[in-house]
């Protein structure tokens, strides 16, 4: 394994800034140029985004705008379940507004594909993704655009490293009563996936026990990070590594915990909606997401790069040394609504 010291990290940062600039100014490959020409006539693309944080989504939108002047990316960032709810409202009203949907809950795509709501498209850039992400759907209705790591974290001022929980199971101990914070599967797709995995490992009883510890429930999976920063709660449950690392870089006293059972890895795709009002811009955006552009922009905000030719973010453990729990998107289609409902019965909201 390569050890990266501080100087190396700075160099890496400079390298990333340079690649980002190079990317914005570099020559466009032929397949992108053709799409770009067509997309310019459409002028914009609307992106329902639930995968990356508000900051990272905005950064991705800006990177797209810089790379493809004349095609404007409308970033509609919310939690994934809410993004899907908005899409469902669009579909129900029969009004096409969304071009590309990016949800952490992969189950959404299985459902949309079955309902014949998605457009078939294989971006050329997808060939350059990490091997595990290269083929999200053999029929090419959706493509990988996100690799999110969700784990435990603690506020080091409130909870010492020795005391901190080591596993998902540890947080059930009654000593964590009133000390935990977690997101909500009715809002966050990632929390839906996490709840599904915990149910698989320990049965629903896990959540009945968790309820006794009265975790503070936010909406987004990112919410507990703020709760920990504020000192409201000491341990964040199923928080994204990216937002936690980002918060640490701003001087907040947080530390990541890699649970013994494995971190939750959300390998989530994006898709073009069949009746997308800007189909060419949507295709161009899919090229952008699977290409160097997205990974370069979001890694600066500590998100995992999804391409081998863009370095992983600073401060996170290399993925090949991390044990991962990665639920399949087929299981998510049925599983997430189930755990969402069970959650509401158990927690009351």
């Amino acid at each position: 394994m390569m050890m990266i010291d501080r100087r190396g990290m700075l160099a890496l940062g400079a390298w990333a800034a340079a690649t980002s600039k190079a990317f914005a100014q570099g020559p466009m490959p032929e397949h992108e140029r053709v799409l770009y020409e067509a997309a310019r006539r459409e002028g914009e693309i609307t992106w329902y985004s639930g995968q990356y944080s508000a900051e990272a989504s905005e950064a991705a939108g800006r990177a797209f705008n810089e790379r493809y002047p004349g095609v404007r990316c409308n970033v509609v960032r919310s939690t994934s379940q809410v993004a899907f709810q908005r899409l469902s409202q669009d579909l129900r009203a029969g009004v096409a507004q969304c071009d590309v949907l990016s949800s952490t809950n992969g189950g959404h795509y299985v459902q949309l594909k079955r309902q014949n709501r998605l457009m078939q498209f294989r971006p050329k850039n997808a060939d350059g993704l990490l091997p595990a992400l290269r083929v999200a759907d053999p029929d090419n209705f959706y493509q990988s655009s996100f690799l999110g790591i969700y784990l435990l974290a603690h506020n080091t001022r409130l909870v010492s490293e020795a005391d901190a929980p080591k596993s998902w199971k540890d947080i059930l101990d009654s000593k964590w009563k009133d000390k935990l914070a977690v997101g909500h599967p009715g809002f966050s797709g990632a929390i839906g996936l996490w709840a599904m995995e915990m149910r698989r490992l320990y049965g629903w009883d896990y959540f009945k026990q968790l309820e006794r510890n009265k975790p503070q429930i936010g909406r987004s999976s990112i919410d507990p990070v703020t709760t920990m920063n504020a000192g409201e709660r000491g341990v964040g449950v199923a928080v994204p590594s990216a937002s936690t690392l980002f918060s640490m870089s701003r001087g907040n006293p947080l530390k990541l915990i890699y649970p013994e059972e494995g971190v939750l890895a959300a390998l989530s795709p994006s898709a073009i909606i069949r009746n997308a009002p800007h189909p060419n811009a949507a295709k161009l955006f899919m090229e952008f997401q699977t290409g160097v552009g997205l990974s370069t922009a979001i890694r600066l905000l500590f998100n995992e790069s999804i391409r081998p030719d863009v370095a992983p973010p600073e401060g996170s453990r290399p993925l090949d040394q991390v044990k991962m729990l990665a639920p399949s998107i087929e299981d998510a289609e049925k599983g997430v609504p189930e755990v969402r409902d069970a959650w509401r019965e158990t927690f009351g909201v």
Binding site: N74, V76, S88, Q89, G186, T226, A230, N252, G348, V349
Partner: protein, 570 residues
């Protein structure tokens, strides 16, 4: 041959007063805005989702689970508790400002106004920063001073939720009760004094009973506002594990979108509202509350002696809790890197404002949306209200009262229910308005029509018809008279009405949340989206921008219309 009937028709058309035509247009407009969405909602609550067949299943689904019934019960309790707290807060303040020689009346007045214009969800975020059980400023200070373990206040409780909502709704009771108190002449109190009652007994037995209708009116209004509120229950209620009707309605909009079930679930909200208005009528009908008579009574301030400082302390305490403290922590958070680190130089940053003003894709767009949606709906509502009020007040046609009823009806429709009605009626075919600015403007217009109507009616009543009659005698038509005589006379008070609608529309969340599209999000909706992530620094900065905009318009109103334009009640 063919020309004759046409001439006849033309002659009849000429006979038709333009006002009759206008009446028809108004009826159509009000039906479109008010009656149709409600009717559509009622209809689909009995429809099967895909087939449209008649069914009662939506009602069975909507009330078939304990959790849904609990939400209904929670909403009712929350409404009652909030209304009670608001009344307790506001009645002494109103009495103090209206009847006594309490010092600092101008300050109290300004603070009530500030509590009124501050959007409730911003207050909610301020109170999370203040009264989070471990991290809130109040609790940190409390622990440091007393060494206690337990928090002094916990915002994430039922009482905390009601308290925070009450801090932003009490101005309604204040306005109602104060305007009623202003009308009572001191003679009645003097009579009681002569019979041997002291100041407190007089207040309890004479003054307050006389304004009982206003207290009740304010109580009911706050109850209704509270059960229809969405933002605060979503922001505080979810961590506090309290599910209410509005957050439950939101859940029915999850995939698969069950508008039908949501409609069925909304009906009790409507019924409760109608029932409450009925109860109010019943309770007030048996007694007389006449305090205004032909004889102009004298109105003197009651001298309270040292007690006036107790009352001032009460008003100051309310101002502290409702306005000063939340504003202070929001301001701190908006300039902070991490709000939990407190007031220190190395924690200061302009990053949050920079992000919103220069780097965020939607922030500026949403500011613009908010301004122009609110301006357009305020204009539309006021024009409609003015025309209806004119017809009603001048009794120009029969059935004018029907128009007035339609214009006032949205008063009793919770905003979120109205949004569901608009979604059901106009989002899809044939009009396909979903995601358009027009849909939101229309929904806002309908929602705030009663405010505009009450304003317009009072203004028109104040103009004696003789001036219009003079113009009519000199040969002016009805519409020309309105344009040249009536409208100029009403200019100032109408501007006041426009500004009030503008300000309440600019912070509206519940009517917008189901209707916005990607490019039509308002500041309130974007704030709600941003708050999901719990990034309070960014949310506070955005709230700061919203408040600055509101203050500019309030300032314009005060300058042009008079200091008390927001809180006047005619």
């Amino acid at each position: 041959m063919a020309a004759a009937p046409r001439a006849g028709f033309g002659a009849r058309l000429r006979m038709l007063e333009p006002v009759t035509l206008l009446w028809l247009v108004l009826v159509a407009g009000l039906i479109f805005l008010v009656a149709a969405p409600l009717l559509k909602m009622l209809l689909i609550s009995f429809e099967e989702q895909d087939t449209g067949d008649f069914t009662l299943m939506n009602y069975a689904t909507a009330y078939g689970r304990q959790r849904y019934l609990d939400a209904l019960r929670n909403s009712l309790l929350l409404g009652l508790l909030t209304a009670a707290i608001s009344t307790i807060i506001a009645v002494p303040m109103a009495w103090a400002v209206s009847r006594t020689d309490m010092p600092g009346k101008g300050f109290t007045w300004a603070m009530v106004l500030a509590a009124f214009v501050m959007p409730p969800y911003l207050g909610a975020i301020g109170w999370i920063l203040l009264a989070g059980p471990n991290s809130g400023w109040i609790n940190q200070v409390w622990r440091a001073v007393t060494g206690a373990q337990d928090p002094l206040m916990n915002v994430y409780t039922f009482g905390g939720l009601a308290f925070v909502i009450a801090l932003h709704s009490f101005p309604l009771v204040f306005i109602f009760v104060k305007s009623a108190l202003d009308l009572i002449s001191s003679e009645m109190e003097d009579a009681a004094n002569i019979m041997g009652a002291g100041t407190w007994t007089t207040m309890r037995k004479v003054t307050l009973p006389l304004v009982w209708p206003s207290i009740l009116g304010g109580f009911i209004l706050i109850f209704l506002e509270t059960i229809a509120l969405f933002g605060t229950p979503a922001i505080i209620g979810i961590p506090a594990r309290i599910n209410v009707v509005t957050t439950q309605l939101w859940q029915f909009f999850e995939d698969p979108v069950r508008v039908e079930v949501a409609a069925a679930y909304s009906i009790p909200l409507l019924l409760i509202t109608v029932a409450l208005i009925g109860v109010q009528k019943l309770m007030l009908s048996r007694k007389g509350f006449v305090s205004q008579t032909g004889k102009g009574g004298e109105r003197r301030q009651i001298k309270l002696g040292p007690w006036r400082w107790v009352l001032f302390a009460w008003c100051f305490g309310v101002a502290l809790l409702a306005v000063l403290k939340p504003l202070l922590v929001l301001l701190q958070a908006s300039f902070a890197k991490a709000w939990g680190r407190g007031f220190s130089l190395d924690n200061l940053t302009l990053r949050n404002y920079r992000m919103l003003l220069f780097e965020h894709d939607m922030a500026l767009q949403s500011v613009w949306n908010t301004i122009w949606f609110s301006a357009a709906s305020a204009g539309l509502a006021l024009i409609l209200a003015l025309l209806v009020a004119y017809i009603v007040v001048r009794r120009l046609i029969r059935f004018a009262d029907g128009l007035a009823f339609l214009a006032m009806a949205p008063f009793v429709i919770p905003g979120i229910v109205m949004a569901i009605g608009f979604y059901a009626a106009y989002a899809g075919p044939p009009l396909m308005l979903y995601g358009s600015a027009l849909l939101i403007i229309l929904a806002f217009t309908a929602r705030f029509l009663p405010i505009a109507y009450a304003n317009a009616q009072a203004s028109i009543r104040a103009v004696h018809p003789e001036m219009e009659e003079a113009a009519r005698i000199l040969g002016s038509g009805r519409l020309q008279t309105i344009r040249r005589i009536t409208a100029p006379l009403l200019k100032t008070s109408l501007l006041g009405g426009w500004l009030i609608v503008f300000i309440v529309a600019s912070r509206e969340l519940s009517a917008a949340i189901f209707l916005v599209g990607p490019r039509t999000r308002t500041m309130s909706v974007l704030l709600y989206d941003l708050s999901e992530q719990g990034n309070f620094e960014l949310v506070s900065a955005f709230g700061g921008i919203l408040l600055v905009i509101t203050m500019v318009f309030v300032g314009i109103g005060m300058k042009l219309v008079g200091r008390d334009f927001m809180l006047r009640r005619d």
